[in-house]
Symmetry: D2
Subunit: 457 residues, 4 copies
C-alpha cells in the first residue's frame, strides 16, 4: 500500500487557463499584504489534500507546513512548482487530472476576484452589486449554461457523516443521475462527495454528455473541505455569503442530507430567503432526506424551525426518509415547476435573478465575539430576519468549531455569548445539545466544551 | 420503492445504427428457422434484464415469457416495440440510454454475423478464418483503436461473488482507472461489473476522454449475464470460443478475480494459449487477485494447475492478495512490456495477430454427453493440449450448471461422464469439490448433485 | 513557380481506416487476375492526379506510367509507399490531407466490394440486390445520415466547361451553400468542382458544421476525373450504373449544368426513371441551369427530349438561365416537397428506397460494337424504355470518346453503328452535331470524326 | 435577382454569448452620453452591411439612417430586434450565421471594454497598461491559443483594389491555407477578404480543424469596412492604436498587399516598431506582394521609405512580385524562425510580449488640425520616431479621406497643414501624388483635392 509522503512536482496548466500575463503571475507570487501568494498557497494545498480525513484547517496547514508553491514565470506559460505536496493528489508520481484542473481554477478565480471586480457595477445598490459580482464570477468560470432546462440539484449536508449516511447520499445521487440531473455541492467529503459518486455511475449508464459536478467553495472553508476530484467545475467564491448566494441562484433545487451545525446554518439561510415576502411565489424544491436510522437529525431541525420561526416555515421543505427513488421523483416534479415558472416569468434558466436575497443574507458575517454578542435572537421581527439572525448564530458556532480564526478567538477570549428570547435561546440550546448527542458536531465528544454560552436576556 | 413490473415502450435507434435496409428488417422479423427473430428476442431480453439477480437463462426466459419485441418496419428508421419488458431497464418510463445502445448493438452484430461473414476469407485455413472473423466482427463494431497504446485490461471472475469480493473488484477497477486503463469484461454482475464501476469513478477524476467499458458476450450466455449499462461497447460474438478469442486478441492484459468453474475454465483457456511454444516470448500480463479472505480460490486453482499441467505453468501468472494498488502497478509494468514487444515486432496495438491460438481452442465445444465422454484428460500430450482438454471439461460442467441446453441434457440423460488419468481426475474432483465447499458453484449447495461423474479409466 | 515533377512519399492511413487485416493487405498487393493491385494503383493514381488538365484516362496512365504504389505490410498499420506520384498532390513535400483521405477511401471501397458483397442478399431479385448493394456500399462508407432533413443537392455537368460557365457553377454552389445544402457531384473538374468551391465559402459564412462534399466515382471514370480534394466523402462504386443509382437514391435534388454527351446521358438516365409510372408521384427537383451565353446547350437538349421522348417529359425538369439565386430558391422549394413526401410516405431521408429504378437502368452497359448495334432507338415502347435506350447510345458515345477501352475499340473496329426510327436517329444526330458545334465534345474539333455512325433502319 | 431592401428581424444570441446581466443590457440600451447605445448601433449596422460597396462611413450611416437596434430585455436571454437592417445580411429572411456571431461579439467587446478595463493593471506604466489591456481584450475574446505553433499570418492592404489584385490576394491566401496558416486581417473587402476566401478553400482541402479567420476592427473604421462573414473571430478593439498593437502582438508574420495611404500607414507603423533598437533581434516576417502590373505601389512605398527613414529600413521587409507560392514558402521559413526564437527566449506563442512598442505608437492619435500641424517630419531624430511621425501624417490623411470626423473637419477648416524637412515633405508629397496617379486614394480622382497641404518649414 502507499505510505503517506510528500511529492515534488511541476504542473503545467490546462490550455484554456494558460494565458496569464506577466503582471498576473507577479501578483500570484506577491507575498506582501496585498499580494495573492498566501491565499493561493492555502487554496492549492487544500485542493491537493484530496481525500484527507483531516477536517480542521489548522491541522491541514500544520501537517503540510513545508508545502510551497512556486510559479515559474515563463512567457510560454506559467508552470506551478509544487514542493512537499500531499501524495494523495498523485498517481504513480503524476498529478490526478481533476486536481490539476482545480489548481488552475483556483488561480483563475483568485486573479479575477482580485483584479477586475472592485470597480464593477456603478450605479447599483450594494445588494445588487453583490448579486452581480456573484454572477460575474460564475460567468467568468463558465458556470452558466443558458438554455439548459433547470436540472442542477444542490446537495448540502455534513462532510463527516456515518458510513450508512454516506452510502445513502450515493444512492440518492445515483437516482438523480439516472434522471440526468447535474450535481452541485460545497466540496469536501461526506454528503458533498457521495451524490457525485452516485451520479457519476448513473450518468455513465445514461451516457450523459458533459455531466456537471460543480463544487462551490471559498478560501476560508476549502482547506478543511478539499474538493473531490470528481468535481469538474470548481469555483472559489470570495466569501461564504457569496458562495451561498451562488448556490441558490445557480442551483434549481436543493437536497439536504444529515449534517451538523453547518448544515443547519445552510437550512436557515435557505429558509430565510424563501420566507421573504418577495419570494413567496417562486418555486424552489427543498428536500431533507436521510437513511433509516438518521431520522433524528431532521426531526431535531424540524422541531427547532417550528419552535423558533414558526410552523408555516415548515411548508417550504419536505422530509423524506430512506427513499432515494422518491427523493428523485419529487425533485423532478419540483424542477418541472421551476421550469414552468421561469418560462412564465421570462427568468433565465442559468441564474435566478428574481429571487430576492435580503441584504442581511449577503453581508459577510465576521463571527467574532462582538458580532455574536450583538445578534438579536428574538421574536417580533419578520420571520426571515429571525432566520438570518439564527443562521449567524450557527455560523459563528461552526466557525468556533472548525475555522481557524474562530477556533483561535475562542481559545483566546472564551466562548461566544448569545442573547435573545428565552424560548428561542432554549430551542437553540436544545438543537445544539441534540447535535452533540447525535455526534453531529466535529468535536471531541467526551470533553466537548461548547464554543458559545447562552446569555438569556 | 419500485414494484417489479413490466413495461411497454417504443425505442428508436441511435443515429449511427439507424440505417437498416428493408431486407435486414425482414430478417430480424423472420421467425422461421433461418430467421433471426428468436435469437434477437432472447438477446434483447437479456440486455433489458439489467441488474437481475437471476443467473439462470431458463429462469430469465421463464419470468419474461410474455416479453416480445416487434420491429416496426418504417422506412424512416426502424423502431423497436418492446412488450412486457423488464422494468429495470427504465427510469420513469424512459429506457436507460446505455441499454438502448445495447439493444441496437445486438441487432448490429446479429445481422453482421448472419449476413456478411459466411463467405469471407477464401484461401485461408480454418484457424486463420476464425481469427479473421473475430477481427471483422470487432472492427465492424468499431472496437478497434489503432495507435492507442496498449491499455485494455480484461477482467474475468465470477458474476456471483461475495460482497467483499465485489467491493474489492471495484477497488482494483478504481486503481486501473486512475492509470487511465480501459476495462473489458464478459458482461454481467459481480467481477464483470465491479471493475467498471470503480474505473468509472477514477476515469471521472482523471477526466479520461472516451473511457471504454467493453463487454464481450455471446447469445448462449447473455441471458444469464445481462450487460451492465455502464458497458459502452457491447459486442455479441457468435459463440463462446470466438468470444474468448476476442478477449485475448483485443485485450492487452488480464486480471482474474475469484469466480467458479467458469472462471477456472477461462484461466485454463488462457494458460493453454500462453503455454504454446509459439507464444513463448509474447508478453501477456496475467494476474490473479482477490481480497483477504478469498485466498482459497486461487490456492485451489494454483494447486490444480501445478498438479495437472505442471509447476512451470504457474510462471505464466502472478497471484496478488488484497492489494489493488499493487495489481495496478504490476499491470502497468506488464502493459509497458506489451507495448515494447509490439513496437519491436511491428505488431498492431489493436489486435494481437501474433498470438497463436491453437485450433483446439477455437473450435466450438458442444458440451453434450458424447463430447464430454470423449475428452482425454491424460498426461503424455503437450501441456497446452491438456489445458484445452481440462478447459472443455470445465466448460461442460459450467454448461450443465448454468446454460439452458446443458441443464436440460443433464435432466434428461444424467450426469456427464469424464475419463482420464487417475491423479488428474482426482485433481479435477478436488478442484470441483473445493469450489462446492467454497460456495463457488451456482447451485443449491445443500442438495447439490454434480452434473458430472468421474469415470477413472 | 512549381515545376511539374514526381514525388516519392510514404503515407499512413487515417486512424479510422487503419485496421486492415494481413489478409486484406495481401489482396491489395495481389497482382494476379483476381487480385486488386491493378485497380487499386489506377484509382490511387487518379486520386493523386488532382487538378490535372488531362481528361483522357490513357493520357493520364501514360504520363504516370512510372507510378507505383506499394503497401508496406506492417502489423502496426498499413503504409502506402508512393513512387513517382504526381507532384500536384503535395504541398512542400507533404501530401494534401484531402487526398490522403481519398487514397484510403479507395482502399476501403475496393476491399469492401470485392470481399463482402458477392454473396449478399439471398432471396432478393437481381434488381433489389443491386439496390441493396449500392445501399451497403454507401452505408459502409458512412455516407448515410439518418434523420437529416433532405438537403443533398447533386450537381451534374461537364468537367471541361468554359470559364464563364465554371464561375456560374461556383455562384450556384454559393447560393446553395448559403442555404446550408450539401453538395454531391461525380468528381473531377468543371461543373463537379465549381459548386463545391462556392458552397465551401458559403458554408464558412454560415458556420455549417460538417459540410458534406460528396464525390461518387467509379474505377472506369476516376482516372480522367480526379476528385477535387474539397470532396470530403469519396465513394468508389463498382460500375457506372451503381454510381448513377447512388446519385439518385442518396441525393434529394439534381442540378444539371452545361456539359457534353455525358451530361446528356445523365439527363436521360434521370428522365427515364422519373417517367416510370411507379415514380409518377415522387417529387424530385431537377433543374437545368447555366449562365447567359450558355442557353444553347439546354435548348439543344430540351429540343431533343421533346422530339424523341415527347413533350410531356419536359415537365420533369425546369430550365433557369443565369439566375443562381432563383436556382437555389427553387431547389429549396423542391426539397421541402421531398421532405413532405418522405414524411407522408414514411420513406427514409437518407436513401430513396421507393424510387423505382427499372432493371434496364441498373444493368451495366458494356458499350462495345455489338451492344451498340443492338440498341433499339425506336418509338412504340414505353417512354422510360426509350430513354434507357437513348442513354445507352450516348453512354457508348462518351465511352468511345473518353474511356480507354472504348477509344481502343473504336481505333480497332471503327465507329459504333446505331439503328432506330428515322426521326429519332435524326434527332440524335442533330444533338451530337450541335454538341460538336458548341464545342461540347472532348475532341479535336477540327479533325473530329464521330465515334458512331447512324444506320437508319 | 435580389432587390436591395431593408429587413426587420429578431436575432437571438449564440449560447456562449447569452449570459448578460440586466445591468449590462441596460448599458447597451442607454442612449445617454456614457451609454453604449450609439456605439453599439453603429457597429451593428457595420456588421450587417456586409458586402457593401460603400466605403464611406457617412454614406453607410446615411443610407441606413432608419436602422435601429433594440435590445429586448428578457431574463431568459437578450434578443436583438433589428429594424430596417441591410438585406445583404440575410438569406431568405434568415440572418447569415457568421453575421449573427459578429453582432454578439461586438456586444461582448463593447461591454468588456467599457466595464472592466478602466481600473486594470495598477502599478504598471501607461505603456505596459495599454499592452495589458490589448492582451485582456484578446483573451476575453478567446483569441489566444496557447501552445499552438506560430501560424497566424496578418494580411494588410487596400479594401478597394483592382480585380486582378483581389484575385491575387485569393491565390496568396490559398497558398497560405495549403500550409495550414491562419489568417488575420482588418475586416472589410479587398485585401482583407481575398486571403480569407483563398485560405478557406485550401483549409477545406487540408481538412484543417478550426481554421481561424480573425478580423480585428475598431468602432471608427468598422462602418466603412464591414467584416466579411467568413471572419470567424471578430474582435473590436477600442481604438486604432490598440487594434494595430493587437495585429503585431497576436500575429506571427505580416503580408502587405497593395493598398492606399492607409496601407502605407500600417507599413510605417510596423517598420517603426521593427526599427526600435530593442526589437533588433526579434524575427518578424514582413512581405510586400502584389500581382504583375501592381509593382508600382510597392516601388513607390519602397522609394519613400528609403528616401525618408533610410535604406537600412528596407532590410526589414521583402518585396515579392506575382508569386503566391514563393510568398507562402518565404512566410513558412519566417514563421519557423519566429518559432525558434520564441522557444529560445521562452516567449509565449500566443502574444508577443517581448516586442517593444514605443509609447508613441500606442497613444491614440486624434488627427485634428492642431495635431497634424504639430507633427515633426524632420530628420535628426531616431528612425523609429520619424516613422511614427510619418505614420501619423498618413493616418491623418486617411482620416481626412475616409473617417467621418476627419472628413467633416476638412470640410469645416480646410486641409491639414503639415511641416517638416524639405526633402521629407517632398517625398511625402510624391508618395501621395503617386497614390493619386495609381488610383490608390479613395477619392474622386477627377476633382480630387488633397485633404492636406504641405507647409515646408
Amino acid at each position: 500500500m502507499i505510505t503517506e509522503h510528500f511529492v515534488n512536482a511541476s504542473v503545467t496548466p490546462l490550455e484554456s487557463l494558460d494565458t496569464l500575463s506577466p503582471h498576473e503571475v507577479a501578483k500570484l507570487q506577491d507575498i506582501s499584504q496585498g499580494g495573492l501568494y498566501h491565499l493561493f498557497r492555502q487554496c492549492c494545498l487544500a485542493v491537493l489534500n484530496t481525500g484527507s480525513e483531516l477536517d480542521s484547517t489548522r491541522k491541514v496547514l500544520n501537517k503540510f507546513r513545508e508545502f510551497d508553491i512556486r510559479i515559474t514565470h515563463k512567457h510560454r506559460g506559467v508552470q506551478l512548482e509544487l514542493i512537499n505536496a500531499p501524495a494523495s493528489a498523485f498517481v504513480d508520481g503524476e498529478i490526478i487530472q481533476g486536481i490539476r484542473e482545480h489548481l488552475f481554477t483556483v488561480l483563475r478565480d483568485l486573479l479575477y476576484v482580485g483584479d477586475e471586480l472592485d470597480q464593477c457595477c456603478d450605479g447599483l445598490t450594494d445588494s445588487e452589486r453583490i448579486t452581480n459580482i456573484v454572477f460575474q464570477i460564475l460567468r467568468h468560470a463558465s458556470a452558466m449554461r443558458p438554455h439548459v432546462k433547470p436540472n442542477l440539484v444542490v446537495c448540502w449536508g455534513g462532510h463527516s457523516i456515518k458510513r450508512g449516511e454516506y452510502d445513502y447520499t450515493k444512492k440518492v445521487g445515483y437516482e438523480l443521475g439516472l434522471r440526468r440531473f447535474d450535481i452541485c455541492t460545497g466540496c469536501g467529503p461526506g454528503a458533498m462527495k457521495g451524490p457525485m459518486k452516485g451520479a457519476t455511475i448513473a450518468h455513465a449508464k445514461q451516457r450523459k454528455d458533459n455531466p456537471r459536478y460543480i463544487g462551490l467553495t471559498e478560501p476560508g472553508i476549502i482547506a478543511a473541505e478539499s474538493p473531490n476530484p470528481i468535481v469538474n467545475e470548481l469555483v472559489t467564491l470570495p466569501d461564504i455569503e457569496k458562495r451561498l448566494e451562488a448556490f441558490v441562484r445557480l442551483g434549481h433545487g436543493i437536497i439536504v442530507f444529515p449534517g451538523g451545525a453547518g448544515t443547519a446554518e445552510e437550512i436557515l439561510y435557505m429558509l430565510g430567503i424563501l420566507l421573504h415576502p418577495k419570494n413567496q411565489h417562486i418555486p424552489f424544491p427543498l428536500i431533507f432526506t436521510g437513511p433509516a436510522g438518521s431520522e433524528a437529525y431532521f426531526e431535531t431541525v424540524d422541531r427547532f424551525i417550528k419552535a423558533t420561526i414558526g410552523p408555516s416555515a415548515a411548508q417550504k421543505y419536505e422530509i423524506i426518509v430512506n427513499d432515494p427513488h422518491e427523493v428523485a421523483v419529487k425533485m423532478r416534479a419540483g424542477l418541472e415547476a421551476v421550469l414552468a415558472y421561469r418560462k412564465q416569468t421570462d427568468e433565465s434558466y442559468h441564474y435566478n435573478w428574481q429571487l430576492h436575497i435580503p441584504h442581511e443574507f449577503q453581508q459577510p458575517f465576521e463571527p467574532n465575539h462582538e458580532a455574536m454578542a450583538q445578534l438579536n435572537l428574538r421574536r417580533g421581527q419578520p420571520d426571515y430576519i429571525l432566520a438570518a439572525q439564527l443562521r449567524r448564530a450557527l455560523s459563528g458556532i461552526v466557525a468556533g468549531n472548525v475555522k481557524e480564526p474562530g477556533v483561535m478567538a475562542i481559545e483566546q477570549h472564551g466562548p461566544f455569548e448569545l442573547t435573545g428570547d428565552v424560548d428561542i435561546m432554549k430551542s437553540l440550546d436544545e438543537l445544539l445539545s441534540a447535535f452533540v448527542d447525535q455526534h453531529r458536531m466535529k468535536i471531541n465528544h467526551e470533553e466537548y466544551e461548547p464554543c458559545y454560552r447562552i446569555v438569556r436576556a
